[in-house]
C-alpha cells in the first residue's frame, strides 16, 4: 500500500518538474513532509543536501533518498520509476513526432527561433549561480579554466571534474597536515 502511494506521489512530482532541477523541491516537500508525513523537515533537508552532492539529477537523487528511507530498496525502485515515467513517456511521444515532422518548414521555423532562446535560458541561471557560489577574483580561475578547456580546447568535462576532485583532496590534505603541525 505504501509502495503504491510512493509511486503515485513521485509520479505527480515527476509530472510537475517542468524545467527540472531545484524547482521541484517545494512540491516534493509538500507531498513527503506535509501531506504523507513520511519524513521530518530535518530529514528532508539532509536529503536535499545529499542529493546536491551526488552526481545525477537532483529530482532523481531525491526520489532515491526518500524512497529508500521509507521502504528500503523496493521503495527506492518504485519512487524512481514514478518520477522517471512522466518525462519518459512525454519524450517518447515527442521523439516519435519529431523524427516524422522534423523537416516540415513550420517545425524548422519554430526550432530556428527556439535555439537562440535556449542559449538565453542558460545565460540567466549562469549569472544567478555565479553570484550564489561566491565567485571572487581569487577563485575566478577555476570556472574560467573549466570554460576554456571544455569549450575551446575540447577537453572532456569528465577529466576536468576528475582533476578538480583530485586537486581539492590533495590541497585539503596538505592544509590539514599544516594545521596539525
Amino acid at each position: 500500500m505504501i509502495l503504491w502511494q510512493l509511486f503515485i506521489s513521485f509520479l505527480k512530482i515527476g509530472a510537475f518538474t517542468l524545467g527540472g532541477g531545484i524547482a521541484m523541491i517545494p512540491i516534493m516537500r509538500r507531498e513527503v513532509v506535509e501531506k504523507h508525513k513520511w519524513l521530518t523537515d530535518m530529514d528532508f533537508l539532509d536529503g536535499v543536501a545529499a542529493a546536491q552532492s551526488s552526481p545525477g539529477p537532483i529530482a532523481i537523487n531525491m526520489s532515491i533518498y526518500v524512497g529508500y528511507r521509507i521502504k528500503g530498496i523496493p521503495g527506492m525502485l518504485v519512487s524512481v520509476l514514478g518520477s522517471v515515467l512522466p518525462s519518459f513517456t512525454s519524450i517518447i511521444i515527442i521523439a516519435s513526432l519529431f523524427t516524422r515532422y522534423a523537416q516540415e518548414p513550420l517545425v524548422r521555423k519554430a526550432f530556428h527561433a527556439l535555439e537562440p532562446a535556449v542559449v538565453s535560458l542558460i545565460a540567466w541561471p549562469l549569472i544567478q549561480i555565479s553570484q550564489k557560489v561566491g565567485l571572487n577574483w581569487r577563485n575566478f580561475w577555476i570556472p574560467l579554466l573549466a570554460l576554456v578547456s571544455v569549450a575551446f580546447i575540447g577537453i572532456s568535462p569528465m577529466y576536468v571534474i576528475i582533476i578538480c576532485i583530485a586537486l581539492t583532496l590533495i590541497i585539503s590534505q596538505i592544509k590539514e597536515k599544516r594545521g596539525k603541525n
Partner: protein
C-alpha cells in the same frame, strides 16, 4: 547499443552540478564524439527538455535512445543515466551525516560548485556555436534574455511563445 548504454552510464557518473552543468558533457559525447545527433538537433533536444517534465539528462537519454534504437534503446539509455546516481546516492544516504562534518568533503563541493559555473558557461558557448546562423537568431536571444532578466517568466511559456513567434515570422 552497448556503447550507447556505457556512454550514458559515464555521463550519469559525472553529472555533478545538475541540469545545465552536464550539457557540455552531453554535447561532447553525443555530438562531437559519437555523432548520434547534429549540433542543432542537440539544441532542439535541449529546447524540448525545457518544455517537458523531468531532468534534462533523462530527457536527452530517452530521446537519443529512441531516435537510434526505438523504445528498447530509450529504456536502456534512461536506465544507464540513472545507474551511477542510484548506487552513489544509496551510499550517501547512509554516510552523508558523517561526511558532512569532514573538511575535505566541504572543500570538495565548494570547488565542484565553482567548477559547474565554468561548465555551464562552456555549454552556453558550445550550444551558441550552432544557434546563431543569422541576425534573426541574435535578435531572439537578446529579447529572450531581457524578458527572463526583467520579468523572470516561466521558461515553458517563453519557449512556447518563441516557437509560435518563429512559425509566424521566422
Amino acid at each position: 547499443m552497448l556503447t550507447m548504454f556505457l556512454t550514458f552510464v559515464k555521463v550519469g557518473l559525472f553529472s555533478f552540478g545538475g541540469g545545465y552543468a552536464i550539457l557540455a558533457m552531453l554535447q561532447q559525447e553525443i555530438v562531437v564524439k559519437h555523432g548520434w545527433l547534429t549540433a542543432s538537433e542537440f539544441t532542439d533536444v535541449v529546447a524540448i527538455s525545457q518544455m517537458t517534465p523531468g531532468p534534462i539528462a533523462i530527457n536527452a537519454a530517452t530521446f537519443i535512445g529512441f531516435k537510434t534504437h526505438g523504445i528498447l534503446g530509450s529504456v536502456l539509455c534512461t536506465f544507464g543515466v540513472i545507474l551511477a546516481p542510484l548506487c552513489l546516492m544509496l551510499i550517501l544516504t547512509h554516510t552523508y551525516i558523517k561526511l558532512q562534518q569532514k573538511e575535505w568533503f566541504k572543500n570538495l563541493f565548494k570547488s565542484l560548485r565553482l567548477l559547474s559555473v565554468g561548465l555551464i558557461a562552456a555549454a552556453m558557448v558550445l550550444i551558441g556555436k550552432s544557434a546563431f546562423p543569422d541576425l534573426f537568431s541574435v535578435g531572439v536571444f537578446v529579447v529572450c534574455f531581457l524578458i527572463i532578466w526583467r520579468w523572470k517568466v516561466n521558461p515553458i511559456y517563453m519557449l512556447l511563445g518563441v516557437a509560435a513567434f518563429g512559425m509566424v515570422f521566422g
